[in-house]
């Protein structure tokens, strides 16, 4: 249908089987499993290119989207993904639910299950909250972002975007720099797992106060993952293949971590000038939402190297793939 049909590997699916009932983080995924997500997302990408981008794969399944934190792209993208697969979608914004009356997370999850949800996509400001939900929920839980901890669907869509943009589609040996507020970033934390799993040469860069813990983690071996942690932005950007700028999370910023946003922008902001030390065809990413003029200059964000809008568009295909793959294991568990 599209250029994708000529993809090598599209027809030679290896005997990889998806055995995860939940998607809480990408740390549990092996490289072949990540490849399976990518291949399935390729097919979803082709579905999205059709005149009617809808297939009946999840017909009759209930997908509930429960977000305790603000979100535009993740929430809408999960909703569109579930609807494209013909699932029945229920959206709950915690601010207008019984959560405001003091209902606990566990009770909320049990209620959602009793109301017929087979899959639960949730975002919570507390790290680990989806793990608790997964203990009580009978279906599949997809983590749509928990605190500072993990944002697996974002890491996978970042990977999907890189794979489609990098020559040869491989991250092996590519220098990938994650620049900015690494400390508060669940996107960075999940990307560490997925990018190192795919063989990237990963660099984490930012002010020392926003890298806290990563040094020690790297020194302890980081569960076998290898990456470089530095505050030297020039060293990090030199000959980089990919630069991912992270949002300065003002809402998570305890006072004292940064002297001022202006100083941050001057020393670590991704500008055209800084980007010159990266490779000429380096790719620029940002998980959004952006503070233009702080962590990324407006002309970089909308420049020719930016794939930021691709990231958003690919989010739907990757989330369709995840919903599809998880739906299979849910049924296995049910003993069907």
């Amino acid at each position: 249908m599209t250029e994708g049909s000529a993809r090598p590997g599209g027809a030679v699916a290896g005997p990889v089987h998806w055995a995860h009932r939940h998607l809480l983080d990408v740390d549990a995924l092996t490289r072949p499993e990540i490849e399976l997500v990518m291949r399935t997302a390729d097919e979803m990408h082709d579905v999205l290119a059709r005149p009617i981008p809808k297939v009946p794969a999840l017909r009759g399944l209930g997908v509930t989207i429960l977000f305790y934190e603000a979100s535009t792209r993740t929430r809408v993208s999960f909703e569109v993904a579930a609807k494209n697969l013909s699932a029945d979608v229920v959206n709950i914004a915690a601010a207008s639910s019984s959560v405001t009356k003091g209902e606990s997370l566990v009770d909320t999850v049990r209620t959602i299950e009793a109301l017929g949800a087979d899959m639960l996509v949730m975002r919570h400001s507390v790290s680990g909250a989806p793990y608790l939900a997964a203990e009580v929920f009978g279906g599949s839980v997809l983590n749509g972002g928990d605190g500072w901890h993990a944002h697996p669907s974002q890491a996978l869509l970042d990977l999907y975007t890189l794979r489609s943009r990098l020559p040869g589609g491989s991250l092996e040996g590519r220098k990938v720099v994650i620049l900015g507020d690494v400390l508060h970033s669940r996107v960075a934390r999940s990307n560490v797992w997925s990018l190192t799993a795919m063989g990237a040469d990963l660099w984490l860069c930012g002010p020392a106060t926003l890298l806290r813990g990563y040094d020690a983690w790297a020194a302890r071996g980081a569960a076998g993952r290898r990456f470089t942690v530095t505050s030297d932005v020039d060293a990090a950007l030199r000959d980089a293949d990919v630069v991912m700028a992270l949002r300065i999370q003002k809402e998570r910023m305890a006072s004292g971590l940064l002297p001022s946003l202006r100083e941050y922008a001057a020393r670590y902001g991704l500008t055209q000038d800084r980007l010159r030390s990266a490779k000429p065809d380096a790719i620029v990413m940002h998980p959004g939402p952006m503070n233009e003029g702080v962590e990324i200059a407006a002309d970089v964000a909308s420049g020719p190297r930016s794939v930021i809008t691709d990231q958003v568009a690919n989010g739907v295909a990757v989330r369709m793939a995840l919903l599809y793959l998880l739906a299979g294991t849910r049924r296995t568990e049910a003993g069907a």
Binding site: M1, S5, G10, W18, D42
Partner: protein
Amino acid sequence: MTAEDIRRATIRISHEIVEKHAGTDGLALVGIQRRGVPLASRLAAAIRENEGVEVPVGALDITFYRDDLSLVAQQPIVKGTDIAFDLNGRTIVLVDDVLYTGRTIRAAMDALIDYGRPQAIRLAVLVDRGHRELPIRADHVGKNVPTSREEVVKVTLEETDGEDAVEIERRPGLAAVGGSAA
């Protein structure tokens, strides 16, 4: 069926398709993943030989349209759809290896119609093994093979499995699912 039987059946079906359509204008072949795809290419090659005409060939993946997703243990791996021509107004001949319950064909018709509105959809299969569960019949059949439900019709093709053959086997256990039989 031996490789020679499969070759003869393919050539006969290619003649039948052209005869039934009264020519090759507006004709296209779409193979169902996985073994329908090489079969469709073979039929197209035979038509090229007989008529000197290149008929468009596509591949259709029906994974997202199956009605038994709730019965299989794991999500089937998607193999990809590739239809590089406009379906609207064409006569589409769906091609598959084995016709069994008819559910695959039902799913294939749903999938096809999401890509456009063909003038007509026809069905060509290498083996019809009976046991239909839906009101579907093939227009072109390589060989009718009466089977019991306890048997599995195993089709292997050069392109996908290294050799051409059709064999009937006893189902190894109740849990097994006939690979190509659907």
